[in-house]
């Protein structure tokens, strides 16, 4: 099978005809494994949760493989599924954690910054600042500035216009700046 010569969209159509995760689906998985993993890791902020979410992404892609109609790029379809999966996992994880560790959470929030660490930003934990934004805003900033998605890609993935996407990212940046000022003060 000349997978290297086939586009993602052609492979997706071939995968839709397969009964199980056959050659075409595995080739697609090979092409997107790294980037889906990176996106999930950035959005989940935890290796175990990222693996769970990323594997779930590919299962969802497999389950919905016949629904891809080729109206958009396959990559947009993949990252849309990845985004929605991560947001779902984060919400369910948030609910679980709130139930289990309500008291612990209050103690963590009382500490404004980590003393050291790669995710320390001018004395303030960047993850902590990002976590105060809405899930969509946080995901937008991470996908834009950490993973380098273009505005066009983000607009398609988040199902909004490019101008609305730019506006939302700009507002999210302002909110992050505001959170930072409050944390430093």
């Amino acid at each position: 099978m000349d997978d290297a010569l086939q586009t993602d969209e052609e492979l997706a159509l071939a995968a839709a005809r397969e009964g199980s995760d056959g050659l075409a689906f595995r080739e697609l998985m090979g092409r997107y494994r790294e980037r889906v993993w990176r996106t999930c890791y950035r959005l989940m902020s935890d290796a175990h949760d990222a693996q769970d979410a990323a594997q779930d992404v590919f299962v969802r892609l497999f389950v919905a493989r016949k629904q891809f109609e080729g109206r958009s790029k396959y990559s947009t379809w993949v990252f849309g599924v990845a985004l929605r999966t991560c947001l779902t996992h984060r919400r369910s994880r948030g609910r679980r954690q709130r139930r289990v560790r309500l008291v612990e959470q209050e103690a963590i929030e009382a500490v404004p910054a980590k003393a050291t660490g790669a995710d320390n930003y001018q004395g303030v934990d960047l993850d902590h600042l990002l976590a105060k934004l809405s899930e969509e805003d946080r995901a937008l900033l991470i996908m834009k500035y950490a993973e380098g998605y273009s505005y066009d890609e983000l607009a398609e993935v988040f199902l909004m216009s490019v101008s609305a996407c730019k506006m939302r990212i700009s507002r999210a940046r302002q909110r992050l700046k505001q959170q930072h000022s409050e944390a430093v003060a």
Binding site: R33, Y41, R42, F58, A118, D119, L126, A146
Partner: protein, 80 residues
């Protein structure tokens, strides 16, 4: 401030894809397919099998000749 947090986001280290990643996906897909086939079997296969069994039984009952009653032997007529 802006450039700093952007650089920090970009520079944050991402570990490599776990070695068992593909096997995990394959196992999950297999579980999904197994569940799908079992559900399909329960929803479509079993009712279809029950219906076929019912039809076959009904056909047998319908086409079988009626059972003859056994008559008591009448003694002494047939032997001279």
């Amino acid at each position: 401030m802006n450039a700093d947090w952007r650089h920090q986001l970009q520079d944050a280290e991402v570990p490599p894809v776990p070695e068992t990643f593909d096997q995990g996906v394959h196992a999950r897909v297999n579980h999904f397919l197994l569940a799908l086939h079992l559900a399909e079997f329960a929803v479509r296969g079993l009712p279809a099998a029950a219906w076929e069994l019912f039809r076959a039984t009904a056909d047998v009952a319908h086409t079988s000749p009626p059972r003859r009653r056994s008559r008591p032997p009448q003694g002494g007529n047939d032997i001279a």
